[in-house]
């Protein structure tokens, strides 16, 4: 038992453990209730339940898809379990070249889940941290619904079920991410320095 706990506490879990576990969610959810793996529909369901405002996009019976809300509730609980009992959530060593790059931008390169200097501090980055959180969060929700799915529903479940739309979406995710991470963010860091 103790050695299992030790094993689970290994940080980080290597990709060849993490990836197959994530992939197995797809057949698991199909078996449990004929549900196709995905997360971002939950954003729509929450809006439909809480603030439909008479909009046609939210005029459907979200209760029929309530499994998705149980699923994301489970994800939130899992986050607590990982951080409380499995020693997840601390900083970790990134690739040395990545640490160097982040430091050249003036960040610490600490490898935090959410770097404290960016999202939680008062320094130069802290001032724009809230902007990044709010604009970035908005784009994730808006873009995922516009694209009809996110990295879970499109990149994992969609490609695994050979859907063309999901391949297109996944390529678009990467284009948007590459441009933002490699061009927009460095320009922003430079402007702050």
């Amino acid at each position: 038992m103790n050695s299992l706990l030790e094993l689970l506490r290994t940080d980080p879990w290597p990709w060849y453990v993490t990836g197959p576990l994530i992939g197995s969610m797809v057949p698991l959810l199909l078996w449990i209730g004929n549900h196709l793996f995905g997360v971002s529909s939950s954003l729509r369901h929450i809006c439909a339940a809480a603030v439909p405002c008479g909009l046609p996009y939210f005029a459907y019976d979200w209760r029929k898809d309530i499994w998705n809300l149980w699923f994301v509730g489970g994800i939130a609980a899992g986050g607590v379990v990982a951080v409380t009992w499995l020693e997840g959530g601390g900083p970790e060593a990134l690739a040395p070249a990545m640490v160097e790059r982040l430091q050249s931008f003036g960040l610490t390169g600490s490898g935090d889940l959410l770097p404290r200097e960016l999202f939680l501090a008062d320094g130069p980055f802290g001032r724009i941290g809230w902007g990044i959180v709010i604009i970035g969060g908005f784009l994730v929700g808006f873009g995922a619904r516009y694209a009809g799915g996110c990295t879970g529903g499109h990149t994992i479940a969609g490609i695994a079920t050979l859907q063309r739309a999901s391949l297109v979406a996944s390529i678009a995710f990467f284009i948007g991410g590459l441009v933002t991470a490699r061009w927009f963010l460095p320009a922003l860091w430079e402007a702050l320095a």
Binding site: F37, V133, A144
Partner: protein, 141 residues
């Protein structure tokens, strides 16, 4: 056992496992997502590619064996509709992913441990989804 309890209990436990995986596998990490977009580590690519392969094998296996769900239904996969949304929405999503270092799954996983920034992030994503619903008719699809 009540079939609803089994279904949603199972879904909840699956979600719980997924949340643990997202944190312990460092998918829910701003730093790791930057590393991925700078091609400095194989980690995220290994995760995504092996996840797709395992999911594909699982789905093929269900089809070949004609497995049924716990409720005894035959398993069907509804096709995703294709339009320009995947391209335009996809690029916007990718930009948000690089900024926050989190896609929707990680946003839920980070909710309890990362405090106010994680809460505001999820609320912003909900607002994004709502605004999409509000202006959907005027967007190119």
């Amino acid at each position: 056992m009540n079939s609803k309890v089994m279904r949603y209990g199972g879904v909840f436990l699956g979600g719980l496992a997924f949340g643990v995986i997202l944190i312990k596998g460092r998918i829910a990490s701003w730093s790791r997502i930057q590393e991925m977009f700078w091609f400095e580590s194989f980690h995220m690519y290994g995760v995504i590619l092996s996840a797709i392969v395992v999911a594909m094998i699982g789905v093929q296996w269900i089809r070949r064996l004609e497995l049924r769900s716990l409720q005894g239904e035959s398993i069907k996969i509804t096709p995703k509709s294709a339009d320009r949304g995947q391209m335009i929405g996809g690029v916007l999503f990718g930009a948000g992913w690089a900024l926050t270092g989190a896609c929707p799954g990680p946003m839920y996983a980070l909710l309890a441990s990362e405090g106010l920034p994680a809460v505001v992030m999820l609320l912003s994503a909900l607002m994004g989804a709502w605004v999409y619903g509000a202006i959907r008719a005027r967007l190119p699809h």
